[in-house]
Symmetry: C2
Subunit: 358 residues, 2 copies
Amino acid sequence: MTRGGSVSQATGNSTIADVARRAGVSLKSVSRVINKEPHVSPKLLAKVSAAISELNYVPDPAARSLAGQRSFTIGLLFDNPSPHYTMKAIIGAYRACVAQGYHMRFDTLNSRSGSALLSSQLDAVVRNGRTDGFVLTPPLTDNREVLDYLERHNIQYVRIAPAIDPGRSAAVSIDDVAAAAQAAQYLCDLGHRIIGLVNGPPDHGAAITRRQGFIERLKSISPDIVLHEAKGDFLFESGISAGEALLSEDPRPTAIFATNDDMAAGLLVACGRCRLVVPDDVSLVGFDDSWIATSVWPYLTTVHQPIEDMAAEAVQLLLAQTKHGQPYEDHMLDYHLVVRESSSPPAEVTSDERTAHR
Amino acid sequence: MTRGGSVSQATGNSTIADVARRAGVSLKSVSRVINKEPHVSPKLLAKVSAAISELNYVPDPAARSLAGQRSFTIGLLFDNPSPHYTMKAIIGAYRACVAQGYHMRFDTLNSRSGSALLSSQLDAVVRNGRTDGFVLTPPLTDNREVLDYLERHNIQYVRIAPAIDPGRSAAVSIDDVAAAAQAAQYLCDLGHRIIGLVNGPPDHGAAITRRQGFIERLKSISPDIVLHEAKGDFLFESGISAGEALLSEDPRPTAIFATNDDMAAGLLVACGRCRLVVPDDVSLVGFDDSWIATSVWPYLTTVHQPIEDMAAEAVQLLLAQTKHGQPYEDHMLDYHLVVRESSSPPAEVTSDERTAHR
DNA sequence: TTGTACGCGTTATCAA
DNA sequence: TTGATAACGCGTACAA
């Protein structure tokens, strides 16, 4: 109030012209610095940088996108049944977007609708979105219709955890085969020999890859291991029914691996209903290390997958690829098994039972 | 391919000039229609509307925000411990933003940092955000420093579930007092007379309001009801420790009300550790009806709060208020008790115990 | 390596 | 009630 006049200082909205004047250079030179273009002498860079920070200058994204080609917006595409996965992906991608001065949109597609509907959904997303590119999360990652559409329209995209067409686009993933194998190894090392497996939805590439990694390792450890499989769809409820099916098998599994945490939490319920104590009677291992893994009791042993980092990394790859047309990179991030309270060696009785049954 | 030439049709990027030409009017007239400005004759409106839909015209947000005042971006501010609440709020707010052609940002503030830090966090958010306004979620809703800052900088905002300074801003809420009272009534109707209460963080207005509503109703039903209180912070872990404290009370509560679902899920764990069966030995009631309420077993009886709708409504109020400077509205949305498997009448033993203790 | 002139698609000002 | 014209802040083409 008493300061009077100049509002522009307070809100930090100086323009590129202010910076140029203050640094004693041309508009274009400032622009070069902002966009990290080549042909900028060190001392010009220094002058401009100084002016920018003195004026607290922040480029106006609207003006940039109007003048340039880019919208400074990227889109995150989902069709994921697990809310926990979605949340982490949003957070991670958003972090990367903010860091780069980008907007983020997210949209949900229904990939199980017909191909006509799918393509009209894509039309809608693409048309009013004006995005510079998309990050695809599973299972969209492995949907060829989506991939084809994007390529046909010349739209940049990066995939998270693709299971098909490697090299078709930039991608960020973990080694699902090895991760699931580690879970199998862990359970066997604990002494389990009768093991259950809860699968994910059949259109979900990672679900298939995890199954494969888990089973292969089991077989390679010993041909005597008994494996029971059950269907699932990555949702909590399907974990309950899968668990009830698995626990009524004979011989009954002493350990169950679910291909995601939501279903593992459902297994916990099934165990409760069957009056079985976890981990004493049944060991449980999940996959993802999402919030639900530590929102149930006992806390779930699970494979930690850095979903936030993967999404952030995907955004960075996308931006790098839109700026300089680099060849497709495939970034492999680390996973690790997190051992918590839902797993332990099988009870003695169990091994007696097993021999009795043979 | 065979259609030849015109690319502009396919991608839908026609400009306001195209529309004006096609409708045979001036640029400004089209602009008026788009922005629903007054002084537009019906037949002009009809011509322009027709041209717009024929050309599939969508205004360029970048150009709009450059020429106009608005950034077409609103911000959602969080400092919420519960990830489930956050996710729902994001989804709801995002839905409303997309419907109105707005971008959405979200940022996290740490309101427990000192006031100097808080205000620099706000500076950062406000400066590089260029948002048209903010939606404040609890507990930021009741942080006077934040409110003061926003008003001092003349920034529009809407609060979700405010507990202080009613009328200071537009707001969206539910009647927390009545909602908690209904939970109390429900438990008493079931026959419970020894009841536990898990509180939320002290800086969280709704937590206080819920406590108040719950206790008042209990007292009004009967002065003989025994109430045990425990501290909590809205997180899962605090539910566990609160539960352990409550369950070791003498007389032991036959029912516990947690002021959010995450803590109620923690109570479930405490019950398990104490070898108490829910709901046979202890009834549990939560608040929010978030995902976790149906990701545990037994499913939680809880008060459903329409978080997504509240956030969406908040966005709409904000946009209405930025466009036409209307007076502050306070929208009250509906809640309802969702009875699931975590609650039942107290076991007979319990009422014997109660009389024995008196 | 640096600078100049122009245009991006829209809204705002002012006149008709 | 309508329309012409000047910004908005920045990137791009081209020139120096």
